[in-house]
Subunit: 201 residues, 3 copies
């Protein structure tokens, strides 16, 4: 009997044929057929990946996370416990007579992207249609309704920018010119027009 | 062996004897004995219906939804992923010595109703004792603490009315007399006293 | 075959050797090896206790609650449905190259304590590093980011003190001297410096 190069807990359901080597899927999690899940990922208990979900490499998907068709998670992302994505801005029961026509049209799905190295805090809600930028950090319990700039820390309902973080997650402190040096990499950045811009070394 | 007229995933628990034809119950969901679940419903993975929960026909209950005794969901409702109901306004552990008397009295349960065709967004919290009106739409991540009028769109913590929607979920736009025509049905409405009133054709 | 003095639903996973007598663990819940769970507790469907979690006696852990290493729950606490704890203030995927060094240092874990008889409402989020005081009540949907005083009722995002409750959960009403008598015990309290102080009988 051939072994898969990834681990599936005996109480989990892993139906996808696109699961990368080194990935671990824990108890009561469900990865549907047609979900794409990269290498060296960790999928916690009770998490759910729907057909059409796309997840990169080295992603941590904590317990109870819900990832739907239309959601793309790039490499190195952290999705915190009980964080929830969506893919419909005006959901109705598809068998509701008033909504049958809308779902028959088939254009209800709205996409979401989480870029490389970002983190989504526990119990956050991501309203579809947004991009969460590289290395951004969504605070626990936040409700994201707009794009999140790269390296931004956002919090609240709706989520607003309250600070900036390094790729490792350290809070960035700016000087009087709105410039900062990343404590881990030594890279320099300038905060301008509500975006973090790299500075020439 | 007789087949049930509804579908239960092999990893789900469906203990109720009141499940309607055409209903589907997915993996790791649990419908307790004494829960009522209508026809043509869809119950997502990891959802939970407690004894005493009442759910109508054509209802969509997405993954991880929690529906307790005292909660009534009418026909055609959409309950979004990880949406949570409650049925106790001052919960304590029932075996907490300070709370044993309260739970022995047995009058702690507070009821909640979601009327026909309403939708509850992802990860919303419904504090018990409220009625969510027909065709209302609760935004993702909202915390509902008061009644929601029919056709209202509510958002935030606590949830407040931020707009109005048609039965199909389309945002309604009002003219200078605060009147509108539903884009799907042609029905006319007037916004008056913070309620949507039908107008004679 | 020896029986355990606690109940585990056939669809649950109870791997800990430290589970107290009279405790019940329901379907699809998972209590990991190394979690401590006291006597006469109730653990709802789809709840999760990680290795290192510590839970006292007579605690009610409702469905889908997530309790991690670093979280201590004292006796008589109620943790409402889908309430989520955390244990990392700047989470990154541990296999994210930018974060490997931080997790290798091993000092990322931040502890949280819930004191005797407190309650946490449905779908609340507890950001790590806080203490929730005795008999406090965290409202449904709140995001706790600071310590919660004993007997305080906190609500919102972030959670703020909006009232005070008795050990049984009754809202306390203060006289013009900011004093009150607990309706259940007859104990008297004074509200001073944003804390509830016992008064001599």
């Amino acid at each position: 009997m051939s072994e898969t190069p990834y681990f599936v807990h005996p109480a989990a359901l892993a139906e996808s044929e696109q699961i990368g080597a080194g990935t671990r899927i824990w108890a009561f999690a469900h990865v549907m057929k047609g979900a794409r899940l990269g290498r060296d990922c960790n999928v916690g208990d009770h998490a759910f990946l729907e057909s059409g979900a796309v997840v990169g490499d080295r992603v941590t998907i904590k317990n109870q996370v819900l990832i739907w068709d239309g959601v793309t998670i790039e490499d190195d992302v952290f999705v915190g416990p009980a964080a929830v994505f969506t893919n419909d801005l005006a959901p109705r029961s598809p068998r509701n007579p008033a909504a049958v026509a809308r779902y028959a049209q088939g254009n209800w799905l709205v996409r979401t992207r989480v870029e490389q190295g970002a983190s989504i805090g526990a119990n956050a809600t991501i309203v579809c249609g947004v991009t969460i930028g590289r290395a951004a950090l969504v605070a626990a319990g936040a409700v994201v309704t707009r794009d999140v700039p790269a390296h931004a820390l956002v919090a609240g309902v709706p989520a607003r920018v309250v600070g900036w973080v390094s790729a490792a997650g350290t809070r960035l402190v700016f000087d009087e010119r709105q410039q900062t040096t990343c404590p881990e990499t030594g890279n320099r950045y300038e905060l301008r027009d509500d975006r973090l811009h790299p500075l020439a070394p």
